[in-house]
Symmetry: C2
Subunit: 349 residues, 2 copies
């Protein structure tokens, strides 16, 4: 791997501990180009422009995927990654569905480790902060024929990130727009899934909601995801979450929270959640919590759930009563080396 270091670190002007999510991109990026059926040599270089023209095929035909992961610093300034192999595996599942070449484990993981090591001063230390990591792959041929690209760029960029959201959200159960359909690309982290969700979310915002709970495409009767996160529901003392499928992302945070919950002897059921069952539980007073989970936000609690013209107001639990708070605390504790890691998830860089 070649490393070209920047001569002008932006750390003179940017404070990683005071950096809103995703805005300030760290000094270096990893770039690896695919051409003639093979990946070239990965290069770490100063982050910046790449001379792509507006004919870049990723822009026209959407062969573009990404991952989201984080690096954390503990009190000794040691830097840790969290389950990066899960992101590597999912990245290649996305690639396959988008007819893109798989990246090698060597380029993805060793590139990642080298990049984080080089830019370790960008990992913030403030509580709740982390270095957000964005691996991406996109079609980089420049032409107009609607076909599979012959060239791709794999890139890893990073950005210091404060907490993503900070208050319980009002969320709307979507019964018109659709995020994903069986036989589609809903289970991948491809670019098209996100742009397609912005307009329905904007409409929800105009109705006073912060986010959407996506439902199935056939009947809009079953929970799928919430915003860009997986969704979990606590009824009584059981957590329910929809099983992963070809319309639901196999979230690393989702899987980790399930494991942490079970480690705490909390029952988790991976089953379809009908809107009717939520309304019933609400009416019976057993609906205790609904929360989203994902890498960027970790866990986000919901306070109000809109459905048709009704609003269900969820109970305001004390922190010590909330599974969302408990699970988040334990997961972040593992990620930041504050707590033991019985699962072997942490990787020291």
């Amino acid at each position: 791997m070649e490393i070209k270091k920047t001569q002008h670190s932006k750390l003179d002007t940017i404070d990683p501990n005071n950096s809103p999510f995703g805005v300030n991109i760290s000094d270096h990026m990893l770039i690896c180009e695919y051409e003639n059926g093979q990946w070239g040599k990965p290069v770490i270089m100063p982050y910046g422009g790449m001379n792509y023209s507006p004919a870049l095929m990723a822009i026209h035909y959407g062969q573009a995927i990404f991952e989201g992961m984080k690096a954390y610093k503990d009190k000794n300034n040691d830097v840790f990654l969290f389950r990066p192999e899960k992101n590597f595996e999912r990245f290649n599942k996305s690639a396959e569905r988008l007819a893109m070449p798989p990246i090698t484990k060597e380029i993805f993981l060793e590139g990642l480790y080298a990049l984080i090591d080089l830019d370790r001063d960008w990992v913030p230390t403030k509580e709740g902060s982390s270095l957000y990591i964005r691996p991406t792959m996109f079609a980089s041929e420049e032409m107009f024929s609607a076909r599979i690209s012959n060239k791709y760029t794999f890139a890893i960029m990073t950005s210091p990130a404060n907490s993503y959201y900070d208050k319980p959200l009002k969320i709307k159960i979507e019964n018109h727009y659709t995020r994903a359909v069986s036989g589609g690309v809903g289970f991948t982290k491809c670019a098209g899934n996100y742009g397609a969700s912005f307009y329905p979310t904007l409409l929800a915002n105009q109705q006073g909601f912060d986010q959407i709970i996506w439902t199935d495409s056939q009947e809009h009767k079953y929970f799928e995801e919430s915003g860009t996160m997986n969704v979990m529901v606590r009824i009584g003392d059981i957590i329910y979450t929809p099983p992963v499928s070809n319309t639901i992302l196999n979230g690393v945070t989702r899987d980790s929270l399930i494991n942490v919950a079970r480690h705490n002897k909390i029952e988790v059921r991976e089953e379809r959640i009908s809107v009717d069952s939520i309304v019933n539980a609400y009416q019976q007073g057993t609906l205790k919590e609904i929360f989203g989970c994902g890498t960027a936000v970790v866990v986000n609690r919901y306070s109000h759930v809109g459905y048709n013209d009704n609003i269900m107001e969820l109970p305001t639990l004390k922190d010590e009563e909330s599974y969302a708070v408990l699970l988040k605390k334990q997961l972040v504790g593992i990620q930041t080396n504050e707590l033991d890691d019985p699962f072997g998830w942490r990787i020291k860089i």
Copy 2:
């Protein structure tokens, strides 16, 4: 509008009459940037790289749309566009669904006219050739937060194009993968729709088919589109085509062919086409033609249609018996100023 002309025309080395579809991009492009809630001044400049980084939001979140249109040269070397207002209108419909700002008619159409006028030497003269025109708009902010971009680039690029396909295709009726779903973005020309279709098409290719006929997401029982085109079916002497919907693109070629057909007293019915009705017509010997239609290819006939493990072989009509051939000839005749234009579709540049 500012115009910066190239000092080095590529026409020294590229022959527009000998240029495969979409590969060679003409000397100039139009660029207009959106920021702070408004479009800036459009600039025509030499086609080339734009210094985008791999953090370009279009690559990550798929806010990216395009149009496809063509310019034609007649025997007097006059240059014509075909119904450009239709593309302008559809472009803004795509933009709205992708939560992108509308482009003004002035920037889109006057920019288009000025660009085609400047690069008129790029319009090929060979029969069946044209200058393919690619307007596009994409999110051009560079950051990682999964939200609506605040910056956009509108671009128009062009490329000389020989005929896209040249032989009748073998096509497969898709009954597993899905292109579009109600409440989704199927009716738009957004990037994500295309990348999502490549893998299912690749699988069809591996089974010996050239393209896919997409069916509805609920039951896979009704025709929707074929490949990246609208689809038309001739049973007896009636043409059937699915009505446009929120899963089917409102094709300019589709609409034009319907008008040309009706002008020829051919009956056209815009109704849902079930796979069962196709199989029945095939068994009764009344299934005469199936063809795709779109700007890039105009009309493409299908010779074989695969469904489950069966292949339906369509009759080999003589050119003078084929509606597909008749309609294509008349449409291209109008586009290239070989025939009268009773519809007022042609615009001279």
